[in-house]
Subunit: 399 residues, 2 copies
């Protein structure tokens, strides 16, 4: 698709391209940017001034080198002016953050989820967001928009939660309802984007990670649900209907245990919180919390230790399969179950390293999320940035 026609769109594409280049290579000068992007120096100067005025970029002090002549001024992303709102709506809590353009957490508010009724949950979320918006504005921040991560499949263009089986929600018009609830408390004019929790988690790594960014990037989240967020060629990869990365419902064993989705042998039934809990308590009704499982493991409960190690082993198989399907440059693990630590993760590592040894291939880098339990909320804020920086994909969806 050519992009030389609509001048305001072209300008926005060029502006955001400059921000992306600076994000990837902090410290470039205007002359570097002209060289890197192919734009003329005068165009770059105009656009950069604009981006500085708006708070996207900032100049840093030029270091004296002793050489004669004017030194080029290095440019950086400005972490002090713009910010995004990111919300993590999970099965038991709402966590909302204000995050700077460079990934610093500026304000935070958490509450237990008061109700699984979608209308009530959205009203509670709106109230928390409203409080944080005031704080951010009082601190002089300009807010770019609101991102929300939810544990389910989302039709992101409509902002509708198609199915969140563990809440359980079906066809919830999340974006429209949140917009209405926010308007009722006087919060208006902020764009709202809703997306699957582990999809946005991947964006926390991609938008706030250090260069060079691995691509593809696979972020595997493990909790009650198991799912992956995937970055392909610098964009969130969603698939035909937005459900790509539902690897918790890939089959690890034909005729395995029944899954919440209706199938048998899904990865979630071997790796998820329910799988571990069921192995410990012997039934599927009493779902042990991650804290309880961790306590049992910490005090050496044999059944708990075995259950966690078994889940870790299957986690290793899933990681091996993600490796084969996507050939990622990096796999990042996150989600509540990561709190179980070594008993889970060592078992996973042992399993996947055995596979790598058997086939004599080098594993991709595997690491834990840099944002820990906040990765969904930070990722939801990152979604706002990710979309703004890619106006062709997310603004006008010409691609």
């Amino acid at each position: 698709m050519s992009i030389t026609g609509d001048q305001s769109l072209l300008r926005e594409i060029n502006r955001m391209a400059l921000v992306r280049v600076v994000q990837r290579a902090p410290g470039l000068s205007r002359a570097d940017l002209a060289k890197e992007t192919g734009l003329t120096k005068s165009t770059v100067s105009l656009l950069v001034q604009d981006l500085i005025d708006e708070g996207w970029l900032e100049e840093s002090d030029v270091q004296a080198t002793g050489a004669i002549g004017r030194r080029p001024t290095p440019l950086f992303l400005n972490g002090k002016s713009l910010a995004m709102i990111g919300a993590d709506v999970s099965l038991d809590a709402i966590n909302v953050l204000i995050v700077s353009l460079t990934g610093e957490i500026l304000h935070e508010a958490s509450e237990a989820l008061a109700s699984h009724d979608p209308e009530k949950a959205i009203r509670q979320l709106a109230r928390i967001i409203g409080t944080l918006v005031k704080q951010a504005q009082a601190a002089g921040r300009y807010l770019l928009g609101i991102g929300v991560g939810v544990p389910g499949a989302v039709l992101d263009r409509q902002g509708v939660v198609k199915l969140a089986p563990n809440l359980p929600w079906r066809d919830v018009p999340f974006q429209a309802s949140l917009s209405r609830e926010l308007a009722l408390i006087g919060v208006k004019g902020l764009s709202i984007q809703v997306q699957n929790d582990y999809d946005v988690a991947a964006l926390s790594e991609h938008e706030f990670g250090d260069s060079p960014l691995p691509d593809p990037l696979v972020c595997l989240g493990i909790g009650v649900g198991v799912g992956a967020g995937i970055i392909v060629r610098d964009r969130l990869f969603l698939g035909a209907d937005g459900f790509a990365g539902e690897v918790g419902h890939s089959i690890l064993q034909f005729d395995g245990p029944g899954c919440s989705c209706g199938r048998r042998g899904c990865a979630e039934t071997f790796i998820g919180q329910r799988a571990i809990s069921t192995r410990i308590v012997g039934n599927t009704e009493d779902l042990l919390s991650v804290d309880t499982i961790k306590e049992l493991v910490d005090r050496g409960d044999e059944a708990a230790m075995l259950a966690v190690r078994r889940a870790g082993h299957y986690l290793g198989i899933l990681i091996q399969n993600l490796w084969m399907y996507f050939n990622p440059g990096r796999i990042v693990l996150g989600g509540p179950l990561c709190d179980l630590g070594a008993p889970l993760l060592d078992a996973a590592n042992a399993c996947v390293e055995r596979y790598a040894l058997d086939c004599q291939l080098q594993l991709p880098e595997i690491r834990l999320s840099r944002f820990g339990s906040r990765w969904v909320a930070v990722g939801a804020a990152a979604l706002v940035k990710h979309a703004l920086l890619r106006p062709l994909d997310f603004g006008l969806r010409l691609n």
Copy 2:
């Protein structure tokens, strides 16, 4: 990445963008193209004339509508002038095609692979290509380049076959050797691209399929090897090292049979030709050909029927998993084992339809390759076209 600087690159991007738009929507006029791409009408006219002169596009007759005024001239891809060479180097044969820009097979030559020695195989391939090049040129075709599909992992930027375990080849400088062998017989100036066989197979569907093109598209090839070629956002998806889609080596069962790759329980050990053959003959050494397996099935051999149905069942599990990982708009099946027909494919369908029923989700469209046994060779030709139409990704690799 902005693209307004380098004028010759910008021109090529715009030219190829116009070809892609016409490919996706045949019959558009110059005015439509201006509207669609945002280019000015005069730029479109200049570039289109160029593309017509070079043989990319052609005008068709304007249909009389009875209305007053000049009717816009519809534009189409020109199937009569340009062509690509596509080669399929498989375990037992070399198949080379000359394919038009619109996907018609113009010339074809097949030979049994005379030797598994890479140098000899490449020399044989060069000789076949040389013959076809003469035929195509005698028929007045301008050749755009050579694409080669091989059954292994390829470092496509270097044109090196990293590993083709079933041949077995390791670190074969395929592109350089083929270029040298072609020069020796007087064939010069044609670009050469080498890629995994099922990766290029996916391009046969993507470059020569009917609009609208599903995206993502997953093409699953089954033969001795099992692998997938994947299209994401209009581009071949290769992963960090070029090995994405190696789903034949995803684990279907922990502690399953040993695989040629060194691991246990890989999908290939349940679905591939060796798996079926081993079940029938009771040992892994005597590999039955697909023709022999088909004969046995056709005359109702019970062991053969059971083995094929079992492989089909596991094929269904792999399809279910591809569905969950990639959320494709379409899954296309191809490769030698598809010749086994209903006993294999019905079992696969029954399995995957059961999964869809259990979770109450609609399966993506699943169909057989439109090019049958030629899909790799046609796809190798499609690779040449795919790369030329995307100068930013494949020409300069700026992305």
